[in-house]
């Protein structure tokens, strides 16, 4: 394209050959990614729709696999345990959103200023986020000890001994809340970084202008900071919601969905159906439903962002 400027006819043919060569090279460069995504993402994704409509077991049996239409979906939707798991992740999401995003927002506001040891402080706040969920379970497994673990000691100290020790992971009324606590602690660091980036994106002139107009710190926060962070809020809320709906690891390790199914989640339900009960078709139906949920949340984000005009 750029070579046309030279406009020397003799140059055209080699240029064309070079274009062709370039095209081959580009294809070779993009091929590994395309190939890997086709094999490991697109194929299983399409397969999951097909498998969801069959009675395929996990381990192949001599009887042929039958096409059963939407039977699996019908069974999923009529299983009370599926609805319990959906209700549980909804509960989890509703609790974890304010705790985790609030914590992230608050720490980001604190850190968004010139501070001595700035990088060290940011690093400290980010440490839980690089901690593996399995390690988080080891730590909080001891914090939650009943009846005399650290959290119960703190509760008893703060309440002057009036509150009885809580069986954090063993009491159906508390188990999901405990999972919320450790999940929020583990993950808020990422949202904090996103908020920091968002805060940095608000032009300093806006604050200066507000200051000249005599706006108080509180008013500056409401009328400059908050509107400036709208896309950030939407983004953070959406990724936290999607993450929350995929709740699995901490539940699988600490409670296995119990006690009394109070922490059963959609992904845990799916894995159990697929690998303990070996009903692959059925589990695939659950995975398709999970995908639809995530897709709806992502579409909602797009809609909200457009509404906010960004």
């Amino acid at each position: 394209m750029t070579l046309q400027q030279t406009s020397v006819p003799a140059l055209r043919r080699p240029a064309k050959r070079r274009d062709k060569q370039r095209l081959w090279q580009e294809m070779a460069m993009i091929a590994p990614a395309v190939l890997l995504l086709a094999i490991f993402l697109i194929t299983p994704f399409l397969l999951s729709f097909w498998t969801a409509m069959t009675n395929q077991p996990l381990v192949p049996r001599p009887t042929p696999v039958r096409f059963v239409g939407l039977l699996n979906f019908e069974r999923v939707f009529t299983d009370p345990l599926f609805w319990t798991s959906l209700w549980n992740v909804t509960r989890f999401t509703v609790w974890v959103l304010p705790v985790q995003c609030g914590l992230a927002f608050l720490t980001a506001l604190l850190l968004h200023q010139k501070l001595p040891m700035q990088n060290l402080l940011r690093g400290l706040f980010f440490l839980p986020a690089i901690t593996s969920m399995v390690v988080v379970c080891v730590i909080w497994g001891t914090l939650f000890q009943y009846p005399s673990g650290p959290l119960n000691q703190i509760v008893s100290f703060l309440s002057g001994g009036t509150i009885q020790p809580i069986d954090w992971l063993g009491d159906p009324n508390w188990a999901m809340f405990s999972i919320v606590l450790l999940s929020a602690w583990q993950a808020y660091g990422f949202q904090m970084i996103i908020y920091l980036a968002g805060l940095q994106g608000i032009p300093e002139e806006l604050y200066d202008a507000a200051r000249i107009d005599g706006a108080s710190a509180l008013r500056r926060f409401w009328h400059v900071t908050m509107p400036g962070l709208r896309p950030t809020h939407v983004f953070v809320l959406v990724i936290t919601t999607i993450q929350a709906f995929k709740l699995y690891t901490q539940v699988a390790i600490l409670t296995q969905g119990g006690p009394k199914e109070s922490t059963e989640t959609v992904v845990h339900y799916m894995v159990r159906a697929g690998f303990e009960e070996q009903k692959l078709g059925y589990a695939s139906a659950v995975s398709v439903i999970l995908f639809v949920i995530v897709l709806l949340i992502a579409l909602l984000q797009r809609k909200l962002l457009r509404r906010f005009d960004v």
Binding site: T2, R18, R22, Q25, E26, A28, M29, A33, L36, L37, F40, L41, I42, T43, P44, F45, L47, S48, L110, L111, Q113, K114, L115, Q118, L124, F125, L127, P128, I130, T131, S132, M133, V134, V135, V138, I139, G141, T142, Q145, G149, P150, N152, I193, I194, L196, G201, P231, I242, Y248, T249, A252, L254, V267, M270, L280, V288, F291, V294, L295, V310
Partner: protein, 297 residues
């Protein structure tokens, strides 16, 4: 560094009272206290891993002794850091490292090449590919895992390193991040190199890669954390010690009647070290470049 220079020169420009300075110190001390509260569970983990009696660990937990050990010992680490046998945490750690390094290195090369072609290539259908990448990003790992396990076991890949690396090397998110990063670099850069007759790969390798340290660092940290923390997938595709990663191994502590907290704590500390090093090494670029752009994507 430049931040530091700025804050030091500031008093020259705007004379500040001592009161303001004190306020700032008090403020940052408050933040430091909050930070210490947030990371106290991690500190407790480190301290507990140095105590050799699991009952004492639990007994100490409820008091300030959780943050202090008068007779530190490495016996827990010695107990678990084997390369074979029942507590082969040396081996699990090594396995996880192999998986992490291969995934990140492979991912950096493959995703950045794809991102480069999407940004500057002359390939027709580029726009369609880019839209496809964005669409694929929505698919959660959890919802492809069922058929993928069956595919992998049919291919005879169960219990290998490959099965834990290959599926996660190429990723729509990282292709997109690289695309976004390359696309914002000036057009003249590409055109000048093209005029000089450099091939596409040459331009990518000698011009764009050296400019991409922030993007490479960000993707390394994100991919590294992701790979290191994989749990669901390796529980489904590993059955023996051969390729079992440390996350799956630590989780087995919870399956026992009485949890060996001392060993679990030591294994947890071992697991934290590599990802901590990765983070410290790349943190400088990470914080400044991370997702400022992703918010709009």
């Amino acid at each position: 560094m430049s931040d530091l220079a700025l804050s030091q020169s500031a008093p020259l420009a705007i004379p500040r009272g001592n009161g303001k300075k004190t306020l700032r110190i008090v403020q940052s001390l408050c933040i430091l206290v909050i930070a210490l509260v947030m990371i106290s569970p991690l500190f407790m983990l480190l301290i507990a891993s140095l105590k050799d009696d699991r009952f004492r660990i639990l007994a100490d937990m409820g008091s300030f002794r959780a943050f202090w050990v008068s007779d530190p010992t490495l016996s827990n680490y010695k107990e678990i850091a084997h390369f074979s046998g029942e507590l082969a945490y040396g081996r699990y750690l090594f396995n996880s490292l192999v998986i992490l390094v291969s995934t990140v290195l492979g991912g950096l090369v493959i995703n950045s090449m794809a991102g480069f072609v999407l940004a500057w290539g002359s390939l027709r259908g580029k726009a369609v590919l880019l839209a496809l990448v964005v669409a694929l990003y929505v698919i959660p790992q959890e919802s492809i895992i069922m058929p993928l396990v069956v595919m992998m076991s049919r291919a005879g890949l169960t219990d290998t390193f490959a099965v834990q690396i290959l599926p996660w090397v190429a990723s729509p998110l990282y292709v997109f991040l690289f695309y976004q990063f390359f696309a914002q670099l000036p057009k003249e850069l590409y055109e000048a190199a093209e005029m000089d007759g450099a091939s596409a790969f040459r331009i990518y390798r000698s011009i764009y890669m050296p400019l991409s340290l922030p993007a490479l660092a960000t993707v390394s940290i994100l991919m590294g954390i992701e790979s290191w923390n994989q749990y669901l997938w390796p529980t489904l595709v590993t059955q023996t010690d051969y390729a079992r990663p440390i996350a799956v191994a630590i989780a087995t502590f919870f399956g026992q009647d009485s949890i060996y907290w001392d060993r679990a704590m030591a294994a947890s500390v071992l697991m934290m070290i590599p990802v901590l090093i990765l983070y410290l090494a790349f943190q400088r670029w990470f914080v400044s470049s991370f997702v400022g752009s992703a918010v709009k994507g």
